[in-house]
Subunit: 549 residues, 2 copies
């Protein structure tokens, strides 16, 4: 079982140091510290375990260190910044593991950019030695790349030339779309195994600054100070501790405080249930700070995040996730209001941004998502996003026979209109009603209203509203049909239907770049007996089928 | 060898009839008329051969029939519109053939939309019977879909449910991005093998109009008349004949009038040479009409189009295309001027739009493109697009030893600033300098100027400018390196680097949808021994690995 929780005290591969407003995350990968046996993490190459620690650090810096305004990514190794993903690890991984690994690393790079853009915590990168492949891609996720100009230090994307695959962590997209490296230069650069150094790296905008080795420290300090100066993070606030999650994992269930997951191996699905808060939220920022990790929105974000990661990595055969909720809509609405009323508080902002990232993680998850909206459920505000993120939703029209609870309702809230935007920068409601502003406005007019099945259907918020007589058959057939289809066709279909409308760096990375990489990861030229990933390091050259597809 | 030239007189699968401003393209696929042996084209299912005829018809309607303002796509078969791509054909095709087939069908669907949008020749679709898979995707490429409401006629995308693959001809993207079908409804629709009929099809915007069978003819006539009424095509003009191309194919060369291709099987590359016109163009529209298919821009467009299609389908092992040109820049500039000065003439417009489509075809071609700019070459205006479409360009700085010709120059022209836009709706120069308007303007300031290597390099128009001493080694190494890499990694890399900036329906179809389809086409769930494509029609159900990737 792959475990995603970490703590700085037990990091094996990173050194996190904080001096005033500047944190330094220094990579120092333990060669024998691989998550799986069978490979050695030489030259600061990484595997999923190294990246899980990085993700933990990125998260904690935002919540536990409000005073940190600039984060320096560096290396503690001599003459090497980072060699990228470990090739032997990739070579021995299954297709599913490779794809899952790339997805998670992409999400962490996106989280780094999110911190720089939205959280006043800007990342920069100091490269001394070689930054190859995923190493350079990590640098590309920062806002300022400083490269030592010593005739040796270099940035490179050698995947095509050496491995027969693509840079899989956003590299190609970030080159041409983020850094606007000219496409012909990018083409040349991406076919060079040795990469590019010094002045040309700067001229081609592969890096932002080159400095002699003796000036690296100064340059880093100067850039970090500039980033810190423009940040709106509070200097004197206290962070909150991301305390360990309460989680009980059994053979067929995972239970957190607010999130529970039932694992239905026969039905090939997981039932994810999210409970509303049981008490009203604190009214002001001080109260939110006092609750810290126990504050319901943050607790739910962390639990959902962990559940998603756990299921993705450890339960690939549960192909459908059934999303349900329970509790009182007014308490979710109150928690949402606590976040939005205190939007200028750093912690409230962090929690909202985190919720946004968690729902984005759901969007790019290769599982069919079906929301069930029944009596007792609570699809209000933040929790309504679960239904909007679903590929399909069923809402019971009326009550079940013998059930005296009132019929199910949905309650749209302000959180559904922007703060939790998808990777395409639109809210899930805007994406749902692409180019139909009147339909978006009709939902907005129902803000705070409890909508019954008919009203929700009229507004286009749910897919189907069967009554008691049809409910069980319709839902059963939907779940069974899903389980009967090709898992790959479903993944491709969902990846295409979920993101209508504008494309962004993020949607391009997950939709275009990852899809091509998935394709290449399956090809004999990469993973066949004589393929480049298979033969890498064997002393034998790869042999390719030259035919273009 | 797959041959792409066709003529209406010998169509086997389509009946083209023209009545005044309305053309009808009726599908009537000959069951025994497959391009390859081994399958029967039942129920108006199609293979590449059927689609090549469709492409021919779409082209000829634009050039040979200026009077046609509306094109009706219909079926001559009883109770079936079109069953989509033939599954037995897909099942027996190689991966390369499947991908190439999808690319070509996509390009033809895009050409249909291009005609509707830019050429005053709008397509509509009349569906009586079932339109399944690629059949419905063909309908989606038209601007108005009329479905007979008879309790039987239906539209469907049954690929996921029946075949374990995606609708591969833009269906998913057109559903949510073009027709704005709500994503949850699209999800449901795309998992139904039987599709959706009548009122629900209309409510969900899967079609634009439903009519009783008895009213179909009227509805089609009404819509065609409305399309015709809004068209700006001339009523009284005469079309020009797309006469057969002069083409000589030998073992190692293809020669047209203006385009020649040398096939270097040892070096795994094709050298495509395009010659400038040898005489000044006609000055006015009448002169262009008089030249017809012999007018240089149209002749070059047709020859390049055929060469690209030929090489893609028949020479997959020639992984690099080296693009060269020759002749007088002023004659290309004059031909460009003839097109642009007569931009309001229907034929000049058609030729420019066709050139645009040909360069787009180059952009989505899975071959490395290297432009060589040498003394005697002619990268001016329209032909400069070849260098801008290339992944990389080399321009000789100075002369070769013993060569008395003047050094090579480039000449930007107005054609490089909009008329030949890429699929992302930007010119290749705008894409090249994404977000750097000043660099675009600097090139614009050089309009009509012959730029030597240094000047072209300063403006960022070429990748490298080696001199005589370095030229041969640099070019040789670039071509050799390309041939040594994994063909798949190159394809993925090029597909990602070529389209920076905004995404459109077209870039999504080629970049996102096709990439996922390519991936799925490789997966055991589709093409393994027990895969859905393999088992389709065998009477045995497919068996899937349920694990999600």
């Amino acid at each position: 079982m792959i475990e995603f929780s970490r703590h700085p005290a037990s990091y094996r591969h990173w050194k996190l140091t904080i001096e005033g407003p500047v944190a330094t995350l220094a990579m120092d990968v333990r060669e024998d510290g691989g998550l799986f046996p069978g490979y050695t993490l030489k030259l600061n190459s990484y595997d999923l375990g190294v990246d899980i620690e990085l993700y933990d650090a990125v998260q904690r810096l935002r919540f536990e260190h409000p005073e940190v305004r600039a984060v320096v990514i560096a290396s503690n190794k001599e003459r090497v910044f980072c060699a990228g993903a470990n090739i032997a690890m990739l070579g021995q991984s299954s297709h599913q593991q490779k794809v899952d690994f790339c997805k998670f690393t992409n999400e962490t790079r996106n989280a780094i950019e999110d911190a720089s853009r939205h959280s006043g915590q800007s990342y920069l990168c100091a490269i001394e030695g070689t930054a190859s492949g995923g190493g350079y891609e990590l640098a590309l996720a920062t806002e300022h790349i400083i490269l030592v100009d010593d005739g040796f230090s270099a940035v490179s994307l050698p995947e095509v030339a050496l491995l027969g695959v693509l840079p899989g962590t956003g590299g190609l997209t970030r080159l041409v779309d983020k850094r606007r490296v000219r496409r012909d230069r990018a083409d040349f650069f991406c076919t060079l195994s040795e990469g590019i150094r010094g002045k040309r790296a700067l001229e081609w905008n592969l890096v932002d600054e080159i400095v002699p080795r003796s000036k690296l420290k100064d340059a880093v300090a100067r850039c970090a100070a500039a980033f810190a100066a423009r940040s709106d993070r509070p200097a004197d606030a206290e962070g909150i501790a991301l305390t360990p999650l309460t989680r009980a994992v059994t053979e067929d269930a995972i239970a957190y405080d607010h999130v529970t997951v039932a694992l239905d191996r026969v039905g090939a699905c997981a039932r994810i249930h999210v409970a509303a808060p049981e008490e009203p939220p604190p009214r002001d920022a001080a109260g939110i700070h006092a609750q810290g990790a126990a504050f319901w929105p943050l607790a739910v974000a962390r639990e959902l995040d962990d559940a998603i990661l756990h299921l993705r990595a450890n339960e690939p055969e549960l192909g459908t996730w059934i999303l349900t909720t329970g509790g009182a809509a007014e308490l979710v609405a109150a928690a949402d209001a606590a976040l939005m009323d205190n939007a200028d508080d750093w912690l409230a902002r962090e929690i909202t941004l985190y919720l946004k990232r968690v729902f984005k993680r759901l969007d790019v998850t290769s599982r069919s998502l079906i929301a069930l909206i029944e009596p007792g459920s609570c699809f209000a505000g933040t929790l309504l996003e679960l239904a909007l993120a679903a590929d399909r939703s069923y809402m019971l029209d009326g009550a079940f026979e013998g059930d005296s609870r009132p019929p199910a309702t949905l309650r749209p809230g302000p959180m559904n209109f922007g703060p939790l935007a998808m990777a395409n920068d639109l809210s899930r409601i805007e994406t749902r009603f692409l180019g139909e502003a009147d339909k978006v406005e009709a939902v907005r007019a129902a803000l705070g209203t409890d909508l019954d099945a008919q009203a929700a259907d009229d507004l286009g918020l749910v897919t189907f509203i069967p009554d008691d007589i049809d409910w069980h058959d319709e839902v059963r057939m939907a779940v069974e049909a899903r389980a009967s289809f090709s898992s790959d066709a479903l993944t491709g279909m969902e990846a295409n239907l979920r993101f209508a409308g504008p494309e962004t760096l993020e949607t391009k990375i997950f939709g275009r770049l990852s899809a091509w990489q998935n394709w290449i990861f399956q090809r004999p030229n990469a993973v066949g007996e004589e393929g480049a990933l298979t033969r890498f390091g064997s002393g034998q050259p790869a042999r390719f089928d030259k035919s273009r597809v």
